[in-house]
Amino acid sequence: MVKKGFEERLPFKRAFLNNKTRNPVLVEELPAEFILTTDARLRSRFPQEQSLFWFREPYATIVLVTCEDLDEFKNILKPRLKLIVQNDEREWFIVFVSKAPAHNDQATKMAKKVYAKLEVDFSSKKRERCCKLDINAPEANFWDDLETKIMECIRNTLDRRIQFYEEEIRKLSEQRFMPVWNFCNFFHPEEVKRYGWYIPLYYAAANLMVEESLAFMFEIAHLHEDALREYDELELCYLETGAQRVCQYGWKAREFGGVEQGDDQATLLEPARKPLTQIVHDDSFREFEFGSIYLPSMLPFCMREVWVITACLALIDATASHYKDGLAAPDVEKEFYRVQGEIYTLCRTKFMRLGYLIGYGSDIERSPVNSASLSMLPWPKPAVWPSLPSNASSEVLAKEKMILQDSPRHKHFGIQRKPLPLEPSVLLREANRRRASLSAGNMSELFDGRPNANDSSGPLSPLPKVNSVSMSRTFSSPGNFEGSIDRPMRLAEIYVAAEHALRNTISDVKLWESLSSIEKFEQKYLDLSKGAANNYHRSWWKRHGVVLDGEIAAVYHKHENYDFAANLYEKVCALYAGEGWENLLAEVLPNLAECQKIQNDQAGYLSSCVRLLSLDKGLFLTKERQAFQSEVVRLAHSEMEHPVPLDVSSLITFSGNQGPLLELCDGDPGTLSVTLWSEFPDDITLESLSLTLTATNNTDEGAKAIKSTEAIVLRPGRNIITLPLPPQKPGSYVLGVLTGQIGQLRFRSHSFSKGGPADSDDFLSYEKPTRPILKVANPRSLVDLAAAVSSALLMNESQWVGIIVRPLNYSLKGAVLHIDAGPGLRIEERHHFEIEKHEVGTQNMTNLDNPPENLSPVSTGVKQLTLEDGKIKLPDWTSNITSVLWIPLRAVSDGLAKGTPAGFKCLRLLRRTIAVHFTDPFHVSIRVADKCNDGTLLLQVKASLAIYDAWLDLQDGFAHAGKGDGRPASSFFPLIVSPKSKAGILFSIYLAEASAKVRFSLFVLYESVFVERQAGLKFVFPIHLTSADEAKELQPVSILNIKYTISGSRNLGAHTPVAEELTGPDNVKAEHLTFRSELVLQRPVLDPCLAVGFLSLPSSGLRVGQLVTMKWRVERLKALEEKVASDNLDEVLYEVNINPENWMIAGRKRGYVSLSTKQGMRFEDRDLNIMPASGCRICPPPQLGLPNVDEANISCNPPGPHLVCVLPPPLSSSYCVPA
């Protein structure tokens, strides 16, 4: 009756309970159950378990007593009650049931007395522990009273238990966080031995249980929020201790509890439904005997798998629905999702296993992830494998049909791979081995002796190693063992048998439904994969998520949902490619490519093909790689709507050739040779190719591309290509980017190889080439042109002018020399030019006395060249050696030649002016002065001269003494004058008017010259002319004629004129050259009346544009005689004679100076300012002449013509006169 009344009021409404933090929580509904102390569930258990499974203990003990007698109460009831209350740590209270009928006062009174006694004995001031139930006349507030008391008890119990569990958790956690803690070595090995193998298992379970029980306790108490929090902590606990292991042990532990229908469903968190809660309530954990772990045979087929699936699903549902808001801290949240993902994965694995057992294995992608989770997971080990039900033949047929119809999906590109295993071992063998009627021995018979073993292998060829078990897995020839009991089951039969067995195991309708057809299976499989992936994506475990995305993609792929599939595949590929897991990438990438191809995503497909080609060669067969390439080429040559650039950095790499780098001179074109490594399996045609060169010293400037316009066919491996290289700026260059076209597509390659094929794992390092491939030198002279002669050549004679052509570390192949003779020079074009190797020794010829006689112009090693259009093409043999080009040249003018500008052209222009000095053989500088001063005649050439004749054509007023023709005695000739000697010729002359004859003699003076290198031929005129003559007309100058021959090396300078001359009309004469030189013989100042002196110029020198004042001094040496005109006696006319090319005059040029007639009068002209006109030169200064006075009467100081040096103008362009 009490139970009835109690249950009527269930569940308790609006109960206040305390949560973990001692805060009162209002629970709307609290279910409770009334059980008797004799209830089986309260039977005692192992003491060590007791505390752990405390949450299954009753929360309150209600002691129902009835007593109608005080004595009885005193003697019997009271001690018993005391005993109950003292021994029981549980919350308790006493309900006194009064059986006394209402009308029986005596009985009622007695009951009241007993109750009063009871209250005295058991209630305290703090706590009322008694209440009274009158059966016959129930008080209105009894049930409320009872409820309050029960509530109080429950609250107290809960508090105590929370305390206990928290303590327990704390202890366990402390141990768990110890560094080397794990379940296996948690306990000392000795202890393990003592307690047997189950102890670690037990503690694993215990650890889980402690936390779980706390959560569960809250759940029982309907403190849902708190329960949830506890479950979260529980999940964290999984993580820290190895989640799956704990799950495994934990669930394994519970697995043994239930054998009833529905106990396979681990609905952990659904209080409304029976399973775990019920198992607990039923106290079926008492059956959690550790010894029973190895009694799995009792369990239904695949109980464990089914239990895990349902447990996972329940856990997922419950936690996910409560965890939507994301209340936890981010890292806890990540953990939460990670555990969710783990649970999904676990569930997915078990689900796949079930699916496989009933024949959906062909639907499971044989991917690495599935293989990893299934192939290492043992088959279920029922003691006896389920056998085929008798009436299942149609189902078997259907399965066989399914097996036969299922054709393995072919990978794109004809890629063939051994499928990865999904089975730990061959299911057929495993199932048959575990059948009761077959022993293992039969198995060998089974596999051997079947001739058609290999011909019908179905889609589930699980073992890649086809050794002794190369057998038919389907056994689709049913005739063989028909009717025999021992006949091994065929695969289809195994599937059907498993299906039937599972139908018995699985009580969850939904789960069974998702296994009922292949479509449903696929759907569930997809859901689980998505669930796992999504949760992993929100956790730390990104890789897990992405990998599972690949599994989802595979399903989409199969169902021709290529868009989704491609997207997901791309994620997977990006993950693997990003971290260089090429083996895994090679598994997924072909699938992506296939999706892209079907979707007509040409760009994506192309890039996938290129990536496939770039993978390690060992990952694909050559045939497959050729298929990739042919796809690339096909696409490249097709009309792509949107042509895409192609990055082939991993396929075509390039480097400069080994060996020295190419060195070019500024502005030169060249040919660049580059090594290309092709990773394509076949030849590939590149329609065009260009390479950029990047200057290492100048990063601002963009790279320059050099192109090959011709199509290039690259063979696999190493190719050497050459590219024309236009002139580049100076600097050193490295290779930059390779670009080009394959078909319509532009490709690029950044990859620089170090002379070998690119490493397959080069994805990490895009090493820039450091070694320059090309060096363009700064502008410099490439060739040196210099005059070969060191000394002057003969004026007016045809002379060889040598130009030394010296290449400066540069080949002159194909060089052309332009020769442009300067003004006053004429190239003797009739004559051949000559070129020969330049001998350094000739420069230092020491023996100038013995110049090579008969130096033939065309000697060995001398080649003749012809001038064409002013150009001479240099022969190739001269391209690398120093050579001398001899040009026949004649200086035609009387003046000195300045030189020949010779342009030298070798593709580029080098202009060089070569100064060649032409001169007369002798330079006559003669000064006639008093007392036998020298007149000097210098030999101006480095050659030996042979003088054959010399005569003096005298000017008027002079006459030869002696024979009269002015020639010295002919016996002196020929007179050889070597460069090292001086010679003098003496002529004897006299003034024609004077009768006195001056004897002269000719002598030759030999004199060594040590100081001066150049030899001089000196003509010394030791003549003192004592008579004066006024004859000025007719011949104003004397002319010295010298007939000579010259023998000199053309390497040095003057030499015999070019041979042509010798073939002139009169041979004999032509052999002798004639030199004519003017000599001005001055008559001596016989009667000096006036002296003109030139005052010295400023010591700082003269500059062009600078005004200087010239000063002369005029002095009368003796008094004028009376016969001179009376007028202007004291005035002297002067005139300044200047060469207007050199001088400008500011001031009077002509005028009078007054000069007294007395002796000794002086005059200094201060007024004449002159300015050097232009140029830097040495020129005669202005002369002051006195026209009215006879020259014979003027004594000059300095006596002869002299020269002054004029410096160039200062750098400033100013012509201002300094103030």
Partner: protein, 143 residues
Amino acid sequence: MIVCLAVVGHQNNPLYIQSFTEADDALKLHHIVHCSLDVVDERVNNPKKSGPTINEAFLGLLYPTENYKVYGYLTNTKVKFILVTTDLDVRDADVRNFFRRFHAAYVDAVTNPFHVPGKKITSKIFAERVSTMVKSFGLSPAS
């Protein structure tokens, strides 16, 4: 029995991966090693989770499943060693010891002047040495 050993570079790229199984299923082991990097990353990025083992190269059990275990080891240069074993009752001390010896072998291999740092380890001697170590690991006194 050790089924797979891997050296993973600091950019999570495989430097050496060797499976020791009979079957031709290395790819699944690649997958296991690759995915276990998640756990390594998690430990490295959340040092508070690794607790007192922070200064130790041995990362301990990374990845317990029902049928195999994955152990990890992290060198100072952020190179990871991953070991996959099907032995379910391996002592941590044994694994730690194994990793130490493996580390020594690795160091020898990468100090070879012909080895390019960051590139795959192709040394045959290293492979032989590792193979010997793997064989002897099974023979060492088990717990």
